[in-house]
Symmetry: C2
Subunit: 370 residues, 2 copies
């Protein structure tokens, strides 16, 4: 069978710990399912800065471009808070997204039955929740020019004398391609897409709405499409999240709304993400997989981290990069089984108790359940 090449970038904080558990899972699939992975490791974020003075070395970038899929842990930490903007850990991640042109960021917000009581929302509001947010990831205000801070000394009204600028810029082509991703994904789900912007205030939002509608009318008339202002979207996510199937939105709104949606589930330690680009020569999309949670420096190195989000990110890799839907499903089922058995890392330990386990134990249990 095929050999799959993977670049593992554990990053900072709990990144290396959770990634070690993913490696166990990869090994299991190699040993038991006849899959063959060619795995290399490298640095990103603060750990890359410590070694190379940059959060992503050029050679690492080149490796990322060459593999089938990148698996990333998490980046950042207080140690790097005072670094210059240009070398902050986040820039490593943003460079990967931009240069690999990973325009479609898939963020499922799924509520696991065994964990529904962790949500700050009422059980009946979130039980069975299964939303997929498709966030545009390579454009918008994250990357638009001009940008920066400059002096504004000739303006006596401007106490402080500075101006900060960022540019929200979208081309119709950028909008259409991520819209297509959303419609394709919806067809395999509940066939519903809700597009969010602020077309009542921003012209870039008008363009967004018109182009999403164009793709719908010309290519996906069978999918149900609605539009919602992003502020109302934030409200509706809190009020009645189950009204949504797929949400498609821009980079900045997607950042905020997907985090709000993630928190609805109450268990951030469970949520994976995939960032996908155009197909490569071998037909596989450019791809990076990472957990939604951050580097959690406060618990790093203590065996407390929950590796499930990172493991489920690998399940997404199996599904979206390697077309191994069956294997992905088996891995997800193994996670559900372990949860149903009451196995709990610290973040998942609720009033009903359960079997407390370390990061590494959790990985072992999931492998055993496979």
């Amino acid at each position: 069978s095929d050999s799959y090449s993977l670049l593992i970038l554990p990053g900072d904080g709990i990144g290396p710990e959770v990634m070690a558990e993913v490696v166990k899972v990869i090994d299991w699939f190699q040993a038991n399912r006849g899959m063959s992975f060619k795995v290399s490791h490298d640095l990103v974020g603060g750990s890359a800065y410590d070694k190379h003075g940059t959060p992503l070395a050029d050679e690492t970038m080149a490796k990322a471009q060459a593999v089938d899929a990148v698996l990333l842990g998490a980046v950042g930490g207080p140690k790097y808070d005072d670094l210059d903007f240009s070398v902050k850990p986040e820039r490593g991640l943003l460079r990967l997204r931009k240069e690999m042109d990973l325009y479609a960021n898939l963020r499922p917000a799924q509520c696991f039955d065994a964990l529904a009581d962790f949500s700050s929302l009422k059980r009946e509001v979130v039980a069975g929740l299964d939303i997929l947010i498709v966030r545009e990831l390579t454009s918008g205000v994250y990357f638009g020019e001009p940008r920066g801070i400059h002096e504004d000394n000739n303006n006596p009204d401007n106490e402080g004398g500075r101006v900060g600028i960022n540019t929200q810029r979208y081309t119709s082509g950028e909008i259409r391609r991520v819209a297509r991703s959303a419609f394709e994904l919806a067809r395999k789900r509940q066939n519903k897409v809700c597009s969010m912007e602020k077309a009542n205030v921003m012209e870039s939002g008008i363009l967004w709405r018109e182009e999403v509608q164009w793709v719908h009318d010309n290519e996906y008339p069978d999918v149900e499409l609605t539009h919602m202002y992003a502020d109302n979207g934030a409200m509706q996510l809190v009020r009645k999240p189950q009204q949504f199937d797929v949400i498609v939105t821009d980079n900045l709104f997607g950042d905020i709304l997907s985090d709000a949606a993630a928190m609805l589930t109450g268990s951030l330690g469970m949520l994976p993400s995939a960032s996908l680009g155009a197909p490569m020569a071998n037909g596989r999309p450019k791809a990076l997989y990472e957990p939604v949670h951050g580097s959690a420096p406060d618990i790093a190195g203590q065996g407390k981290a929950n590796p499930i989000a990172c493991i489920l990110s690998f399940a997404m890799a199996l599904r979206y990069s390697f077309n191994e839907g069956q294997a992905a499903g088996d891995l997800e089922a193994a996670v559900e089984k372990v949860l149903a058995d009451g196995v709990r890392t610290a973040d998942l330990m609720g009033p009903e108790g359960g079997t407390p386990v370390s990061t590494s134990d959790m990985g072992d249990r999931i492998v055993a359940a496979l």
Copy 2:
């Protein structure tokens, strides 16, 4: 005593209905508290467009500039959905905010005890909730130039051939003045401010963070100040909203986050807002008061709307424009009493039942409770 001048702009949808109840309250304060209001009425939004072809006529703008306070109902409706951007109902509201220079938008998210079960969040997460979001309202991406949609025909990579642009632009002076508003308000509350931006991605966010910190260090060192990325802010609002006292943030983040915060309370029909600018010659700030809810065209004209948000907006006017804190408190207490008595408009009717009342009945009950 003083005479207070008010311009009432009921607007569209349920705006006129809820404003009619505010007028009853104003009349009560005139009759019973020796206050004197000079009230004029005019059009804004779709209703202004219908009459004048613009969502805010120049004479209306001039009147708004001349009064002590503007009370606004709500704008918009499906009838106006296809209007050109430049004459949409929202432009009337945005013009008022911009030309009156109402830079500090105060959006309390308060959970009323009698209504805590309306929240989609668990009672213990929201009971007693009392957050104040201070949103910058006259700058940022809402107003920055350049903006617009243009052709991009020489770019073969851009399928669709258009580009949409908006500009996020903040001066240090704009940030400092709204930060001062937030710190002043915090001193009268729990003395805590959390500032939100995306300084990890946007230079305008770096400027925001630095200037808020500057105002703190130089002028309000006694207030506790923290900073949070806006995506984490959205998460924390869902996870544990009671950790916040005052939140200060920019125009766009404020739009999204204040709506999410509003929905935490579960009763949008209860939430007022104030938009304040610099002091006028008489010492009162330029001011506009409006409910957080929209024009709700689906229930307009049926006597179903809840007038409380609009009435509590008038309470904010009493407090912030007229320094009538006692009267404001009395009005708020009257609202709480009526709620505690089980009086409910349709939107507030829960499983435990209550006395169903119309918009107009609710106004009468509140006046009676005064």
